[in-house]
């Protein structure tokens, strides 16, 4: 295969991905819109509060929120707005949605990115050093993985704060000032992710260790370090990365809890309060952003997989 045709395969993959992304975004906006409308009550009740029964006020609020239009008209207005990048104004926050959401995006991406990268790093180290070990080591690691997955994020976060912030005073309990403030939230968020990925990666490496190419590599006298890091990890990495990409969504879910416990700014906290007050423009903006991030990440993961694993390139042709 020539270098050129490899490029075409990659390009085709990217274009197909982009088309898919548009469909996914549209579907996400539509489902969210329907979901908000299906919830009992409405944002107008939240905006009105105890003024709900003042004559004329409800009509005024409905028209300023655009709720006096037929639902289909509202839906297409939203779609049109979003396509031009305008997410509208939140009547609950009394601010432009883009300003609110974009100002909160940084801290969340920082947190999610730090959690994802450190989870991958941790998993690499655990898998390389422990897979194929004694049954006892396997059992201990297995239990640790289960705990990491099952322990409630809220509880883990609180415990870390009590130990490392209030007790040892190593890290601040809240805020987003500098790298020190990122440590505890990152650990809280990465635990369940690392648990799942580690299970996955260790099993994959364990499987590979029994394959004939390993046996022949060992018979050539290759060092165990080189064997694992150069031969085994790339094999297991493709599958692990794909899983990591799909788990990104759960990272954002976890961020809602982590941001609340640690009093960190971020999109999770904004999303939570928006859902509670049925603040449609904010909810849709958050959904669009998260969906976009999700699509971008899974595209990148696929492309990395194409790069790591030559077989995938051939299969696409």
């Amino acid at each position: 295969m020539t270098r050129n045709s490899q490029g075409i395969v990659l390009l085709r993959g990217v274009i197909r991905r982009l088309a898919g992304a548009v469909v996914v975004l549209w579907a996400a906006v539509t489902v969210t819109f329907i979901g908000i409308r299906a919830m009992p009550g409405s944002v107008e009740d939240v905006v009105l509060g105890i003024h709900a029964n003042e004559p004329g006020l409800r009509e005024q609020v409905r028209s300023s929120l655009g709720l006096d239009q037929p639902v289909l008209v509202q839906y297409f207005q939203y779609l049109g707005q979003i396509m031009t990048g305008d997410f509208g104004r939140s009547f609950v926050l009394r601010a432009d949605v883009s300003d609110v959401v974009f100002s909160q995006l940084g801290p969340t991406l920082q947190l999610a990115g730090a959690a994802l990268l450190s989870a991958l790093l941790a998993v690499w180290i655990i898998a390389v050093t422990t897979s194929g070990g004694s049954p006892r080591t396997e059992r201990v690691i297995g239990v640790a993985e289960l705990l990491a997955i099952c322990l409630p994020t809220f509880w883990v976060g609180s415990l870390l704060i009590i130990w490392f912030s209030f007790g040892l005073k190593w890290f601040p309990a809240s805020g987003a000032d500098g790298p020190a403030a990122l440590v505890l939230p990152t650990i809280t968020l990465l635990l369940p992710l690392a648990g799942v990925l580690s299970q996955f990666m260790r099993e994959e490496i364990g499987r590979q260790l029994r394959l004939p190419y390993i046996v022949s590599a060992r018979s050539r006298g290759i060092s165990e370090f080189r064997l694992r890091n150069v031969h085994l990890v790339p094999h297991a990495a493709v599958a692990t990365l794909t899983v990591a990409g799909t788990l990104f969504g759960s990272l954002i879910g976890g961020a809602v809890i982590v941001e609340t416990v640690f009093g960190r700014p971020g999109i999770g906290r904004v999303a939570l309060s928006a859902v509670e007050s049925q603040d449609t423009p904010v909810i849709i903006a958050v959904v669009v952003l998260i969906t976009t991030a999700y699509v971008v990440i899974s595209t990148v993961v696929d492309l990395i997989a194409l790069w790591i694993d030559p077989r995938l390139r051939e299969e696409t042709v």
Partner: protein, 549 residues
């Protein structure tokens, strides 16, 4: 959680959402022994508070707790003292006409907003006229509902009313009617954002702000407009004030104990002992002037059989309020007797011991109303229907073990008299929709530090019973008398009638527990206190931090 809901009553400093942040504690139980010594100039303080203001403009802020923040950079026309009286602030003096419909304020001279604009009567007029015009969408327009015209002449402000308004000074003392630079007023709710040019005459100036994280205020060195009655004039002691937004109670308290912050507000009753046992901390419990937590009951036929006042009274007397409040809050919260907070000068003492904890009488009332039969579980039935009372409390508003209080009531009402209390926690949107169409049953909650006359007119008349055929006519008429009373004595007499109507005669409100705000701080922090117009923690004008403990 942050939950934002504009809910101020027409005329009251009330928000349902305030219930979120209201935690209740026994007044006077605070340990105020501090090692802070005499005031120290300079330094900084870091607060941790639960809720981040979603709007920084007085006319559009949403939560009662926002007022503690806004108070730092916004002054009011008049200052509310601890005993509920009013003393000069931005208004040097005022005169009220004999018929109570003309107020003439002399506005302080030589005061400037922190954007450089001078404070004049015209500047005050621009603020008040903007807020009272309902089409501008301020939820506090109702506070100025009695105003017909405002005339400004240099430093003389004449406020003409269409009818006497005994609440006007209370309203003007509130952060909601705080005065901001006229340059920003026309921006309307755009003034909510921190970089909108929002400027007051206050002791601090808005500084750096990170949404979801923290707000910093810096000292206004040119401050000259402190309330006249304070023994401290000129600039504030502190150079810098930081508010960190930490929604989790346990993290806020832990951050204080670990020395990461200097002061916190919003302390759940069950955490008070934990704070008081720490000798490096002080604990302050605010005045019991807010409306107590209690059950508001729909007396309309839509809520049958509870349209029968005898049944409502039976429910009211079916449980032991003292025992319930004591067991849930372990002595940190006082039980409530009335719709008015126990420390308010408007509280009707005659309600103490006048109702409650009388299962025998309650059973007799229920028997007489024809609910004599019982089903297999011991609940009363009539014509095959169980005697059920639906209590719906929006989940966001539940704070400080209030769900435990309701469950204890549920338990006693079932055991003592056979009433089935059905407690559910839907969203505010659902609860509000039921209230809007009059089909609601019981709403438990409190409305914060309200104007007790206007709150009845605005919230009972204008919200709970706006869509029902039933009207709490006696209470609303008495409240109207109180609102238009010409003397404090007449106002208090009319408000006594309001309390008796709501709790005793009509029993559309069953009080349970007093509501207060709390502060905890390091001992090195001096001068902490409460803003008596809102019962919330005050701004930081009088606060200092001693250099070393």
């Amino acid at each position: 959680m942050k939950i934002n809901r504009p809910l101020t009553a027409a005329g009251g400093a009330a928000t349902l959402a305030a219930a979120l942040l209201l935690t209740a504690c026994a007044a006077g139980s605070g340990s105020t022994a501090t090692t802070a010594g005499d005031p120290v100039d300079g330094g900084s303080i870091t607060w941790a508070i639960a809720a981040e203001p979603s709007c920084f403009a007085p006319a559009f802020h949403q939560l009662l707790s926002d007022r503690a923040v806004i108070r730092n950079y916004v002054d009011s026309l008049v200052y509310q003292e601890e005993d509920g009286s009013f003393t000069p602030w931005l208004a040097d003096s005022w005169e009220i006409s004999e018929d109570g419909t003309t107020y003439v304020f002399e506005i302080a001279e030589g005061v400037t907003f922190t954007d450089g604009e001078p404070l004049t009567a015209e500047a005050v007029k621009v603020n008040l006229d903007y807020t009272r015009d309902a089409s501008h969408g301020s939820t506090y327009a109702g506070l100025l509902g009695s105003v017909s015209e405002i005339v400004a002449d240099d430093h003389t402000l004449t406020v003409q009313l269409s009818a006497p308004d005994s609440s006007l000074l209370d309203s003007l003392s509130s952060v909601a009617l705080g005065i901001v630079s006229p340059a920003g007023v026309e921006l309307g709710d755009e003034l909510c954002s921190i970089d909108s040019g929002l400027a007051g005459t206050g002791a601090f100036v808005l500084g750096d702000y990170t949404r979801g994280d923290q707000l910093t205020l810096t000292r206004n060195d040119d401050y000259v407009s402190a309330p006249a009655s304070l023994d401290h004039g000129g600039a504030a002691y502190l150079e810098q004030v930081t508010y960190k937004f930490i929604p989790e109670d346990s993290v806020r308290i832990g951050a204080l104990k670990a020395g990461q912050v200097d002061a916190i507000s919003g302390i759940p009753a069950l955490e008070v002992a934990n704070i008081e046992s720490d000798s490096s901390l002080q604990y302050l419990n605010g005045p019991r002037t807010s409306m107590p937590f209690g059950f508001t009951i729909n007396a309309d036929a839509a809520n049958a059989p509870w349209d029968d006042v005898a049944l409502r009274q039976a429910f009211r007397d079916s449980f032991d309020v003292d025992a319930i409040v004591d067991s849930v809050y372990r002595g940190e919260v006082d039980r409530a007797y009335s719709y008015v907070g126990g420390d308010s000068p408007e509280f009707d003492e005659s309600l103490v011991g006048a109702w409650g904890n009388d299962p025998e009488a309650a059973n007799a009332l229920l028997d007489a109303a024809g609910w004599e039969e019982r089903d297999g579980e011991g609940y009363r039935i009539k014509d095959g229907e169980r005697l059920t009372l639906d209590v719906t409390y929006d989940s966001d508003s539940i704070r400080d073990s209030r769900d435990k209080v309701i469950e204890a009531v549920q338990d006693q009402a079932a055991k003592n008299v056979g009433i089935d209390v059905n407690f559910t926690t839907p969203t505010w949107a659902e609860v509000s929709a039921q209230i809007a169409d009059g089909t609601w049953s019981v709403y438990p909650g409190s409305f914060g530090k309200v104007d007790y006359a206007n709150n009845v007119i605005g919230v009972w008349g204008g919200f709970f019973f706006a869509a029902t055929e039933y009207q709490p006519t006696g209470a609303i008429e008495a409240a109207t008398q109180a609102a238009t009373a010409l003397s404090p004595e007449d106002r208090i007499a009319a408000l006594n009638t309001v309390q008796q109507e709501l709790v005793l005669n009509e029993t559309v409100f069953v009080p349970v527990a007093e509501s207060t705000f709390q502060i905890a701080a390091r001992n090195a922090v001096g001068g902490l206190g409460f803003d008596f117009s809102s019962a919330n923690p005050d701004g930081n004008y009088g606060v200092w931090v001693a250099a070393a403990e």
